[in-house]
């Protein structure tokens, strides 16, 4: 028999053109012929006279295919067993993983954390005696709403009664041993510090997204750190923060202020070590706090700060070469610019040196200096000091200052002593840092170790910075800032007092008193140095000037935080390490200097 004849239905030359049905039929015929060919290959081989070999080849082929498949499977299994990725399924266990990382200060002290809270669920079908259950539940959990409890107990389904039970509340309810009561865990953000650093930390919502403060500013990084099971560190030092808050609260209550602000920063790195806004609120009971307490005055409130701005005017004057320590300014009579008369608060009525202008806080002197420098120079310095733009701190609350529209002579005179320009305290702190750290503007930051690769720019020369440090130190030893001195810490600084604009007029009864201090003020300009800024908004008792309302707080803060910051008490030209004044060298002969 001829087994090699074409299989029945083998494709034959088609008489007509291809159609879909025809193609299908052709394909089917081809498959059938293949199967047919396979089925009959054994007979075919026997017919060829090589029956044994053909059988062996087929068995060998099948054996080879199966061996290959099983070898692949074995290799795959061995690979899966030996080289399984760590943390893959099965070993997926990271006990530290959280939706949001714990916030800690620079020394690892806790600022914000996640605690598992519980949702209370009740299934009324499993409750024996709803009336007694209600009484017991209300006794164990006083804050549960009676209406909600009634609705759930008289309902048909398992429903949530209350969210956010603390572990101790859960224990109390659990101890009732009621049927039908169950708990479901939920992660909650808690702020164990309560009122401390509340503005700065901000808050996160129940979904785990930041809403304000650092929780919002570093939202992505906090979430990433949480997934990795690490803490997220801020530049804050909780010890310093505590001192600053306490001293600020004492000073604010003593002077019956409406609001108060204090900031401590590292002048060289721009790190904020403490930031306090008074009044404050409990971060865990935010809803019951009065609205004015919620405002972070450090980043979001604008103030015309007054004389603390004279530091900028004087620094610009020295830096441009317009003035040096011996330049004389005629403050013997009021300065007339157009229709406006500029007078001094502590009128001296004489010709003053630059040092005296600064120490007596002479409006006439700084106005003359500013007008001499002109609008373009002043605007350039103010811009480089960051006084015209929102402070580049990470906090989203950092507000833009109102624009200064005119740069004519009368505006310049106002700007020179801190009127006509409103800035946020954090803007001021960043700008002030540039005067005392060798002249570099460093962006303020809440990141520990400073901002990585942050651009800094030179505002004034290091020599100007050194001169300013000397002037500020002199101002504390002999000028308006003497209450800010702390024994042996070489505090320097400048007072500021301004009246507030009320209904378009500067009202002398509503004032802002401030003090911008730096310590230690001696040593090379690049040495470690800390700035302390305190501002009292609308102090209610006299005297209201910065030298009385803010300077003492700066002195006390410096005195208490120096040990934490590692600042040694030392003597300098003006006072001993214990704070006693060194009598000044009197040049009797007149040939001394």
């Amino acid at each position: 028999m001829d087994y090699r004849r074409p299989a029945p239905g083998r494709p034959q030359p088609r008489p007509q053109g291809p159609s879909v049905g025809g193609l299908f039929a052709a394909w089917g015929r081809w498959v059938a012929s293949c199967v047919w060919w396979m089925e009959h290959s054994f007979e075919r081989a026997r017919a060829d006279g090589r029956p044994e070999e053909d059988t062996r080849v087929r068995i060998f082929l099948i054996l080879a295919v199966f061996s290959a498949v099983f070898a692949c499977l074995a290799l795959g299994a061995a690979h899966a067993a030996l080289f399984a990725p760590k943390g893959g399924s099965g070993s997926g266990f990271n006990a530290n993983a959280l939706t949001r990382a714990d916030l800690v200060d620079r020394n690892g002290q806790l600022l914000a954390t996640n605690i598992t809270h519980y949702g209370l669920y009740i299934d009324p079908r499993e409750i024996w005696d709803p009336a007694s259950a209600k009484v017991q539940l209300r006794r164990a959990l006083p804050r549960v709403s009676a209406k909600r409890l009634d609705r759930v107990l008289s309902g048909e389904r398992r429903l949530v009664v209350l969210n956010g039970l603390t572990p101790s509340e859960r224990r109390a309810v659990h101890a009732l041993a009621l049927g039908g009561v169950s708990f479901e865990p939920e992660d909650r953000r808690v702020y164990p510090l309560g009122t401390s650093a509340a503005h700065l930390i901000g808050r996160a919502d129940t979904g785990g997204e930041g809403v304000s403060g650092t929780e919002l500013a570093f939202n992505q990084e906090i979430r990433a750190a949480g997934a990795a099971g690490e803490d997220f560190q801020l530049s804050i030092d909780l010890r310093v923060q505590g001192v600053v808050e306490n001293e600020l609260a004492i000073a604010a209550e003593e002077h019956k202020a409406k609001g108060a602000v204090a900031v401590v920063a590292d002048a060289q790195t721009g790190e904020i070590l403490a930031m306090a806004s008074w009044p404050t609120y409990d971060a865990n009971r935010r809803n019951s706090a009065p609205t004015e307490a919620l405002l972070n005055r450090v980043t979001s409130a604008h103030y015309e700060m007054g004389s603390v701005f004279k530091s900028f005017t004087v620094a610009a004057g020295i830096d441009t070469g317009r003035a040096d320590m011996n330049t004389l300014f005629d403050a013997s009579q009021a300065l007339q610019i157009g229709k406006r008369r500029i007078t001094d608060f502590h009128a001296t009525n004489k010709v003053l040196t630059l040092e005296e202008v600064y120490l007596h806080s002479s409006n006439i002197g700084t106005s003359r200096l500013a007008v001499e420098m002109g609008g373009d120079v002043m605007r350039d310095y103010f811009r480089r000091l960051g006084l015209l733009d929102a402070a580049p701190i990470e906090l989203k609350e950092s507000a833009s200052p109102p624009k200064v529209r005119k740069w004519d002579d009368t505006t310049l005179a106002s700007l020179s002593f801190g009127y006509g320009i409103m800035v946020t305290p954090i803007q001021y702190v960043a700008a002030y840092g540039a005067l005392v750290n060798g002249g570099r503007y460093v962006q303020p930051t809440l990141r520990k170790g400073g901002r990585p690769n942050a651009p800094t720019h030179q505002v004034v020369s290091p020599e100007t910075s050194a001169t300013m440090l000397d002037l500020m130190r002199r101002n504390v030893t002999r000028g308006s800032g003497r209450f800010a001195d702390a024994p042996g810490l070489r505090v320097g600084g400048k007072t500021g007092s301004a009246n507030k604009l009320v209904n378009g007029r500067y009202n002398p009864a509503v004032a802002v008193g401030s003090f911008a201090g730096v310590f230690p003020a001696d040593g090379p300009v690049t040495a470690k140095r800390y700035t302390v800024f305190v501002l009292m908004d609308e102090p209610g008792v006299f005297p209201r000037t910065g030298g009385y309302v803010a300077a003492p707080a700066v002195g006390r803060i410096a005195d208490r935080i120096a040990p934490f910051l590692g600042v040694q008490r030392k003597a300098d030209r003006w006072s001993t390490a214990l704070g006693e004044k060194i009598p000044e060298f009197e040049d009797v002969e007149g040939d001394g200097r």
Partner: protein
Amino acid sequence: MIAVPVPVKRLFDWKVRGVRCVEIIGVVCVAALVFSVYIAKAAAARESAEISRIESEIRENRQRVRLLRAEATRLEQPARLEALSREIGLGPVDVKKQAVEAGLPAIAPPPVVATPPAAAASVAEPAAGEALH
């Protein structure tokens, strides 16, 4: 036919009560393998139960640590600590009562080894008191 070596052929032909010994040996080997795999699996199951127990214990402990840490922080609120210490009359240390480590020998000279300890203590005490007040 493939030529099979004689010893192999003898091994295949060695039978006990009509059953090839090679097959008996093979069955015994397979039984041993199955049993050992069973033992290994059972041990692994026990281990993984132990691991998950320890893991849940770790998780619970971690929760407790978090809770206690938060509680400690709540108790250490700066405002609370300050209020408590002011209440019992504590306050910032006056600068004249502070000393640095390097200045300690000047305040209380270390006792001389030759003198008896009692005498050394009586010398050191007034010196310390004098410097501190």
